[in-house]
């Protein structure tokens, strides 16, 4: 096939336009690809940093994990753990003249479960919360907490609000959410740890 000069120039122009278009498209795609690669590199680098940190402290983390699982109070089932906390709260309140207004257990599977809390299991801590409303003077309430929050019990207060009663400013009204950590164990007598942080 022979082309005239005009057709040759036209074909050349079309080729140049197509080539520039293809070049532009390819450049754009390559730029996106390279940006993706840099993001992947940042991800890999962060993973490497975390891996180095974990491996450098590997023995320490393993030791802590063993200590935690040995030290956590052990219960045969979840019900035992809940009833154990309720009775402990009630006994401590009674011992320190704190009046309990209300108690409510929060099922960690439906509400109140922390986002980062691991799934409970044989080698992982389980937890649940108890929301309590109580009244008492400052000294009694403080002693009540003091007894409840001994380190060997693995309890923590996620929320506390304390305001004086309207009619008697010496009496405080407390709303408190107590979280209990425990482990499931076939032998519930194991839960008597010695704290060695």
């Amino acid at each position: 096939m022979s082309l005239s000069n005009r057709e040759e120039k036209l074909a050349l122009g079309v080729f140049v336009v197509l080539a520039l278009g293809a070049l532009s498209l390819a450049t754009s795609r390559v730029r996106v690809w390279r940006a993706t690669l840099w993001e992947q590199e940042a991800t890999v680098e962060s993973r490497e940093v975390e891996a180095r940190e974990l491996q450098n402290g590997g023995e320490l983390w393993e030791e802590r994990r063993r200590w935690v699982m040995e030290s956590l109070p052990g219960y045969a089932n979840d019900g035992d753990a809940r009833s154990g906390l309720v009775s402990a709260v009630q006994e401590a309140a009674k011992a320190h003249s704190v009046t309990l207004q209300s108690q409510k257990l929060i099922d960690p599977d439906t509400e109140g479960k922390p986002e980062e809390a691991p799934e409970g299991g044989a080698d992982r801590p389980n937890g649940f919360a108890l929301v309590v409303t109580a009244t008492g003077n400052l000294k009694d309430v403080t002693l009540w907490w003091q007894e409840l929050l001994q380190p060997e019990h693995f309890r923590q207060i996620n929320f506390l609000k304390m305001i004086p009663e309207d009619d008697n400013s010496e009496v405080l009204r407390c709303s408190v959410e107590i979280w209990q950590w425990y482990r499931l164990s076939s032998d519930s007598s194991e839960g008597n740890p010695s704290i060695a942080p």
Partner: protein
Amino acid sequence: MSSTSPSKLVLPGPEDWSHYRRTARRGEWSQAGARDKRVIDAETWIALPNVQFEFLFARLPSGTPAERQEMLKLEMESRGWQPDARDQGRTAWLMAPEEAGHVLCAAVCWPGQLPSDEFARAGCFSPSAWAYGYRPNSVTIWREAGRLTAVWCGALANFPLHCQGLSREVLDDELAEELRMVELSLRLSGVPVRTTGLVLRGELGDPSSRHGFARALGWTESIEQLVPSDGGFDLSSTLVPPPAAEYRRRVRNQARLRGFVFFALAVMGVGGFLMIQPALSKQKELRTRGAGLDQIEPELSRLRSARQAWNLLQPALNPNRYPQELLLRCVNEIPAEGVRVTQFECTLNSLLVAGEASTPQLAIQFQNRLQQAVTLTGAVWDAPSPGFQQDGRASFQIQATFQDVPKQP
């Protein structure tokens, strides 16, 4: 054709030539397909122009070019030329200026590829004659297709009047005699040849034999190289048919265009490779590093789980974050009189203390003492200005956020 060495032929323009190869078994020339190469081996190949000259000298009376062409065609046919339909569009008629009331004419037939058996009779036509320039009143001799070929040129330069193959293959006395006989025959037939010079193209014998050969003829000897590599006559020459010139120009333009396209594609390819090569290396490196991390992922997952459990248990193990501890530290900062706390609220990562003071200054002082307390370091404080109550007392509030505490229940 030109020669850069005795064994090499440089084609004037590949598009106008057919290539023939000497078969080893029978020693014959046969067409072996086109070769798009400018330099070929002269030992086994020859190149023939696709434009074949049929020379005819005729004295035509003056007339219009159309009339002369018609007469020339009749003259050609009377001599046995029988063009078929395909030749009608491929025939050009060359006419020299008038000379003594007559017109010198030559017919150019464009037969396309030559059959090999016709080439075997190469002496009856001049395969390459159209490709050379000719001096006035000279005979040009060159070797082609295994024999010597001679062209007679008259007073007009570059207008061959006669061409034929010669019976001898070397420059000797018998060849000189043959040339004299041909010249005499031409003169007797009315062709106005008055040869005074001899042009030898290419390697034809040693210098002494060439000189002796020219002297035997009584002509002036001249040794010239074969035509320039870009071939044949200048495109403006009347001996190059316009279609051929246009075709050659178009082929050159197309070759230039192809070259530009290939160059552009090559540049784009090289540029593209240089642009993506670092990314390819990076991708390969990332895959390797990722695979290494994947291999130790089970171990990392176990350690990560242990760390996560440990961090989650910190509020239960670290007394510094116990609410009663925070309350005690806040109470320690309350002055002996003038400040009363009405609300104490804390979570795992925040602390809120609200109350009232007898004067705004006391409220501000209490806020400052809380913020400066060594036992409450690590918190970001938000302490808005105290407000005024109707009885003149000031109400205040201060909030702390502990940012080093992981997210907890």
